[in-house]
Symmetry: C2
Subunit: 452 residues, 2 copies
């Protein structure tokens, strides 16, 4: 074992431990650099499966990997669990809430969060799905809604408890709607005594003319058919104009409508995280309409060759004029490119511009149902679902050998149990104006016929 002093090594600071930041760190493993990965969370979150946490199929621990565990064997990498508040490009310094870190090259990969199109007051009523806490909030609300419906004597109020509105017909919205339909129709079957959870009204609202707008039209149609078969009401060309506790107001071709719904989930707009504005303030870099950072062909920002932006936070329009979509494969490839660029520079070499290799798009709708667009090959149904499972488990395993998730998945698939259906947090019981005042006077099945 040879120990060498690294104090003079090139220092790469990466802000954000998502797909972009973590891939950049990992691909710098054999480079003569020091890497410091800063994140305000101590884990990498596998966001594509977050909707499974929101619907009680997986636990947060199943889809999260401690960053220190992932980078444990990478001796040139240090993880810093801290919050970045500012940067100082002149002195090449990142400012933390309680300190500062010098860099030679900075990679910013802090991603995006929800955007309510100027209606930030909707956030409280219609939470989005970006963090573990978001997922647990949505899980609590969904489960509490069924509990409240079971105890609600007023039929109209009960209907509102059993109405679930998902705003946004992208992959997250579809996955949530499809899984929620399965939860109501399969998992919760026979678990309640007064309500039939299968009567739940699950609405998926999309402003444009079809769900999954970036996908080929034929797959959008297949996705809609699959969702409808699962019992989801898909309403396209429907815009949300207001959200208040218990009510969603929508506008469509036939005018305005008020939907009484106690559970509303936001899966529509996205805006760049706070670091984009910090970069704009400190370097003058241009931001796009949703606040993302306009990057150069090599992912640096104008006039700042030492600052790179990767992943959802970057607006990369050098490939076909359109910005690349905010999906995990783009972030991974950009993280990898950033690492390669740093390694090339240290050797005095140059790299061609970043080029995204699109391996295809996959969206899952429910058990056995998904759509896949692999360019020439488009398919749906069970084969697409299998492909989806395979790809997702593959990436999970890559980080943390999470083979357990595979077991959990198989278990859920065969038993349909969704065992992580816990109402946790501050409110754990529904509080109604007045609930049924005696035990349900329903007609029970006699002992003799119980064995059916």
């Amino acid at each position: 074992m040879t120990a060498i002093n690294t104090s003079s090594w090139h220092h790469v600071v990466i802000v954000g431990g998502g797909f972009g930041g973590l891939y950049a760190a990992q691909h710098l493993k054999n480079a003569p650099v020091k890497v410091t990965l800063i994140d305000k969370r101590n884990f990498h979150l596998f966001q594509p499966l977050l909707y499974q946490v929101a619907t009680g199929g997986l636990s947060p621990g199943d889809i999260a990997s401690p960053l220190r565990a992932v980078l444990r064997r990478q001796k040139n990498a240090t993880v810093l669990n801290a919050e970045v508040t500012d940067i100082d490009p002149k002195h090449r310094r990142v400012i933390l809430r309680d300190g500062e870190v010098d860099y030679d090259t900075l990679i910013v990969a802090t991603g995006v969060s929800h955007y309510y199109f100027g209606h930030d007051d909707w956030a409280k009523t219609a939470p989005g799905l970006k963090t573990v806490e978001d997922a647990l909030t949505i899980r609590r609300r969904i489960l509490l809604a069924f509990e409240a419906a079971e105890r609600e004597p007023d039929p109209q109020k009960r209907r509102a408890w059993l109405t679930f509105v998902i705003v946004g017909g992208g992959p997250t919205g579809l996955e949530l709607a499809g899984t929620l339909a399965e939860l109501a129709r399969v998992t919760l079957k026979e678990e309640f005594r007064r309500i039939d959870p299968a009567q739940a009204n699950i609405l998926l609202l999309e402003g444009r003319e079809r769900v999954l707008p970036p996908y080929p039209a034929e797959l959008s149609i297949k996705a809609k058919t699959a969702l409808t078969r699962l019992g989801v009401t898909v309403r396209t060309e429907t815009t949300v104009t207001n959200i208040q506790e218990g009510t969603v107001t929508i506008r469509h071709n036939n005018g305005e409508e008020h939907i009484q719904a106690q559970t509303i989930v936001w899966a529509a707009g996205m805006k760049a995280s706070m670091m984009a504005q910090v970069l704009a303030n400190r370097t003058g870099v241009e931001l796009d309409r949703t606040g993302r950072v306009m990057v150069e062909p090599d992912l640096t920002i104008t006039g700042q060759p030492d600052i790179l932006v990767v992943g959802d936070l970057a607006h990369y329009a050098h490939q076909n004029g359109q910005p690349l979509p905010g999906v995990a494969p783009v972030a991974m490839q950009q993280g990898h490119y950033a690492a390669n660029l740093i390694k090339a520079r240290l050797k005095g070499k140059r790299l061609p511009a970043f080029w995204y290799f699109n391996k295809g798009n996959l969206a899952v709708i429910g058990r056995n149902a998904a759509v896949a667009d692999l360019g020439l090959l488009k398919f749906s149904g069970f084969p697409a679902w299998l492909a989806w499972i395979f790809v997702h488990i593959w990436y999970l395993i890559e980080f943390d050998n999470k083979v357990l998730v595979l077991f959990q998945w198989a278990w859920n698939y065969f038993t349909r149990k969704r065992g992580a259906r816990l109402i946790t947090g501050d409110e754990t019981v529904p509080v109604l104006e007045k609930c049924f005042d005696t035990a349900p006077e329903r007609t029970y099945i006699t002992t003799s016929s119980r064995g059916r």
Copy 2:
């Protein structure tokens, strides 16, 4: 299938879905009664494994089963997710926060919570371990302490971040201390760059002269030896006299001492839940020193043959003068007895007094280490650990076929990964007065030797 009207059936209301309440409900399955199980949580929690959640080995979903899922096929049972605030024994009525439920027989099984011996202000600094939220709070504090230590430049403060004090040498205290030692010495090994987590100072404090006071003395000695080998400092005859943010004050034979520790966990006192006081107010029943309800030989309360108290909430001293311990097997057997008593009464029969059959006691200290007291047979080490695993998995499976936990357990055992190490909730980063202001200037290992 014959449907019969049950509106005239005897109505058993059970408050609390722990071991006592759930066993009572399940053993009334084939009785001609209606059962309503009321709990403010929607799940049964397998409390004996809660310390695994607090140390990142299991997720809450792994040790919790939705009550509705457990009782799904029991057609005479209804689950009510509600909070009981009072009872009205005269009208045989349970009062909810938002309604009321009539009963013919009431079983109260609401258990116990922490008791700080009159120092309720200690609760904020030294949380106990009774709920999922408690476990997540302790998990966050433990993980944040290591993160803070990694960033703390002041050696004395760093030492305080790496000092963990567990108050109480009962099974929970032992399990927490042993697992925490493994976390620090095995799981976190090589994950940090500035600190060595193995240097963590883990203190287990017990007021009496030995740990596990209710066990035979030879097992207490074995438990202490095993803990010491794991790196835990066990201090007996040591009483906590004060707890403040960052400091535990203790008193022992040599006087008073102040321990600087940022992470303190309370595993000492227990007091009865609020329902005991409600029962005392409404029926005049006697409570013991810790607030538990003094019960008759048939688990009813004096003068109220229609009200039974089972589990940790009951003080049952008719067996050998000493109250039965607050452990799961007692609660299970009492729940079973309560169901039998109700069934016997409906047939006009009588039952002999409740009698606890003690199958033995088990406490786990860490990987491969446990102590078992099966009456004549006392053993420790790996065989006791295997017995412990077997018993716990057995009961988990009984409720919810949680075979996955077995996989998770095997996985953790072989990889020692503890993958559920997530810092979640409000604070996710340590905030220090001032952290290291540059990346660590440590001596990294070169690439060539990385493969060791």
